[in-house]
């Protein structure tokens, strides 16, 4: 077993899958020769050649649009949006075509394609480099959205995304790219899409988080160690379709719910989850199901970003609020 960062695990998985399956191609801006601006695809063009690791023109609609055509003609494209904040030019292709092609053709053309993109704040980046746009994908029928928070899940979810016959958006928590290492099995394994992971069991409150906020949620729980609050922490891993069953069962047990996300609060992913909890676990609730999301302001540039980023202290306070309601 090798020890890897999230970034390393993604690179290793792409390599392993490309070696196994000739129909996989990588494409995007700078993904080939340079290996991407974060070096996620480093070395893969050198190993698999320019035909399969493609430096494209700087054109997001062409990257996603051509991926659709490739997927219809025998390839499995894995494209990269350099930052999720740059995906808007390609968004038309995702929403108008990728999400619809199977339905539109009554199942004749499915699109086995993956669109990777680093997301989220906290790396002191330029404007348009820090967004958390989960809902723009999760809202669209026909798309799936997964977000790993660990190297192990990064590998397993990416392998599942590649094997999935439908388009999968793969969000990469860039704040965690090199934040920590974990042992990752060498063998080819999958983490099922649509399946959450219970990180720790607890009885008093269910806390759901994902991606870059998982380590923050874990730190928050540590801050509460002397508080006699038993937290059940769930890593959602898939945002669309999210694991309603695991989360609802947990809330039925704990009676309390908090969802934490960096995405803007209003109309955010938490709003959807709370609706489902109200519909399916209302009579079990001891406190209003609650969300802690990013403020509804344009995510600030680095010198103001600390006002936006969600801290372990904020999460801990919110957990206490809900438990003491």
């Amino acid at each position: 077993m090798a020890v890897m960062t999230i970034l390393g695990a993604i690179n290793h998985t792409l390599d392993q899958q490309m070696e196994k399956d000739d129909s996989i191609v990588l494409l995007g801006e700078d993904v080939g020769f340079e290996g991407g601006v974060f070096r996620v695809t480093k070395g893969l063009q050198q190993k698999y050649g320019k035909d399969r690791s493609i430096d494209t023109p700087l054109a997001e609609a062409a990257i996603i649009g051509s991926s659709i055509g490739m997927a219809m003609n025998g390839l499995k494209p894995i494209s990269e949006m350099q930052f999720s904040g740059f995906m808007f030019d390609g968004y038309n292709q995702l929403v108008s075509h990728a999400a619809r092609m199977r339905n539109r053709t009554r199942g004749t053309y499915n699109l086995p394609m993956v669109v990777r993109m680093p997301y989220g704040g906290g790396i002191r980046a330029l404007e348009h480099h820090s967004e958390s746009l989960e809902v723009l994908f999760a809202h669209i029928p026909g798309l799936k959205l997964v977000i790993p928070s660990t190297p192990y899940d990064a590998k397993g979810l990416l392998a599942s995304a590649i094997a999935d016959p439908d388009p999968v958006i793969f969000f990469e928590p860039k704040r965690l790219y090199r934040a920590f290492k974990q042992e990752v099995p060498e063998k080819d394994y999958k983490v099922e899409i649509g399946k959450a992971r219970v990180v720790q069991k607890g009885d008093d409150i269910t806390v759901v988080a994902w991606g870059a906020l998982m380590p923050e949620a874990i730190k928050a729980i540590k801050l509460l160690e002397d508080q006699d609050i038993s937290v059940e922490l769930i890593d959602l891993r898939t945002i669309a379709p999210w694991d309603r069953k695991t989360v609802v069962e947990s809330v039925k047990k704990t009676g309390r719910f908090l969802v934490v996300h960096e995405a803007y609060t209003s109309f955010g992913p938490g709003a959807e989850m709370i609706s489902v909890i109200n519909e399916q676990a209302f009579l079990y609730l001891e406190a209003p199901p609650t969300r802690l999301g990013g403020a509804d302001i344009t995510i600030p540039l680095p010198k103001g970003e600390h006002h936006f980023i969600i801290t372990p202290e904020q999460i801990a306070d919110k957990i206490k609020d809900v438990v003491k309601f």
Binding site: V25, D51, R52, I54, T56, P57, A59, A61, A62, I64, G65, S66, S67, I68, G69, M70, A71, M72, N73, G74, L75, P77, D89, N92, Q93, S96, H97, M101, R102, N103, R104, T105, R106, G107, T108, Y109, N110, P141, G142, K144, P165, D166, G194, P241, R244, K245
Partner: protein, 358 residues
């Protein structure tokens, strides 16, 4: 090479048949066998007839919004006739005659405008993509298909259609450029029918002609008389040979004129110049191609009338079958969203069924 002889920078236009059906340059006249010539004309005539009928059905309240092809039959059939079975066809939404030539059943083409996704459920062997409404976005799909052909060494060419309005779109640029950069076996055909709904061609681009855009991409481009099926045919044959040889994509501008409305919700009389329209009617592709076939003793006016009647009856028969399909089943609107429907959508389906949905 036609693309150098008819240099778009010099505003040259390729034409084989003049509006009266006379060959303007015998050296350009393609050697097409009689059977194919007749098939080409019959498909144009079927396209015209089915189109006329579709408008009537819509006016009778039996068909939904429909985008007519009248006047553009040659710009479509001339290309389709030059393609092989193995080639891909990527339409926008005003290419019925090309789709018919490629083998799409009229029933499906009608079904789409009747409001049923089954209309886009083409036999995959036809290699026809579904109708694409978002303007110019389909060119990127064509580029991806052609990329896959190239690296998988498949001997096939992809043709994408777009309108004159579509050339203003960013996706046009991204798609044509992608094809050019990777030297893909791809042909982009601009059906310049002079209007994007009501907006004239002059508002889309200051360029003298739209084929000059090819220059900026470093690929060959050519302006073709889009009402001349033989000119469209030879331009496509040359572009296809180039693509198959590995010499990359071509941009073809088919200059034509939309003789009908943008869709059935539109009234072109309020924005088109009636003099232009009358003039365009004299350049109708069916007039010239019919005369060409009559001169070749392959056709006659009597035969024409007979065929129009046959195609009218055929369109009526097919449309009746379409009307008999009625509403779409409940399962049909849920079944194709994902390969495996996630549980919450399955629940939504069950709830709809409990409410009596079928």
């Amino acid at each position: 090479m036609l693309t150098t002889k008819f240099d778009p920078l010099k505003d040259k236009m390729l034409q084989v048949l003049d509006p009266k059906g006379k060959v303007v340059d015998a050296k350009l006249e393609p050697k097409i066998d009689d059977e194919t010539l007749i098939k080409m004309y019959e498909t144009m005539l079927l396209g015209r007839t089915a189109d006329t009928k579709a408008l009537q059905y819509q006016r009778q309240g039996r068909m939904l919004t429909y985008a007519p092809i009248k006047g553009q039959e040659a710009a479509q059939v001339g290309v389709a006739a030059a393609l092989g079975k193995e080639d891909w066809f990527v339409p926008a939404f005003r290419e019925m005659a090309a789709l018919l030539y490629k083998g799409a059943p009229l029933k499906q083409l009608y079904l789409y405008w009747y409001g049923n996704e089954e209309g886009n459920h083409f036999d995959p062997d036809l290699k026809i993509l579904p109708i694409s409404v978002p303007i110019a976005s389909q060119i990127n799909h064509a580029a991806g298909i052609a990329y896959a052909s190239k690296i998988q060494k498949k001997e096939e060419v992809t043709v994408a259609y777009v309108g004159d309005g579509g050339t203003s779109h960013g996706e046009f640029h991204e798609g044509v450029n992608f094809g050019a950069v990777f030297n893909l076996p791809m042909i982009t055909v601009i059906q310049n029918n002079q209007f994007a709904i009501s907006t004239p061609r002059s508002v889309q681009s200051k360029a003298k002609n739209l084929a000059t855009k090819a220059v900026g991409y470093g690929i060959p481009g050519i302006v073709v008389d889009g009402n001349d099926p033989l000119a469209m045919y030879i331009a496509t044959v040359e572009a296809r040979e180039r693509a198959l040889k590995g010499d990359g994509p071509t941009l073809i501008e088919a200059v034509t004129y939309r003789l009908g409305p943008h869709t059935t919700s539109d009234d072109p009389t309020i924005y088109r110049d009636e003099k232009d329209f009358k003039d365009a009617e004299t350049k109708d592709p069916l007039i010239r191609f019919k005369q060409y076939l009559i001169d070749k003793k392959l056709w006659s006016d009597e035969k024409d009338e007979e065929k129009i009647k046959e195609f009218t009856d055929y369109s009526n028969k097919i449309f009746k079958e379409v009307e008999e399909t009625g509403l779409v089943d409940l399962d049909d609107v849920f079944d194709y969203q994902y390969e495996t429907l996630p549980p919450h959508i399955e629940e939504q389906r069950q709830r709809a069924k409990e409410r009596g949905g079928k």
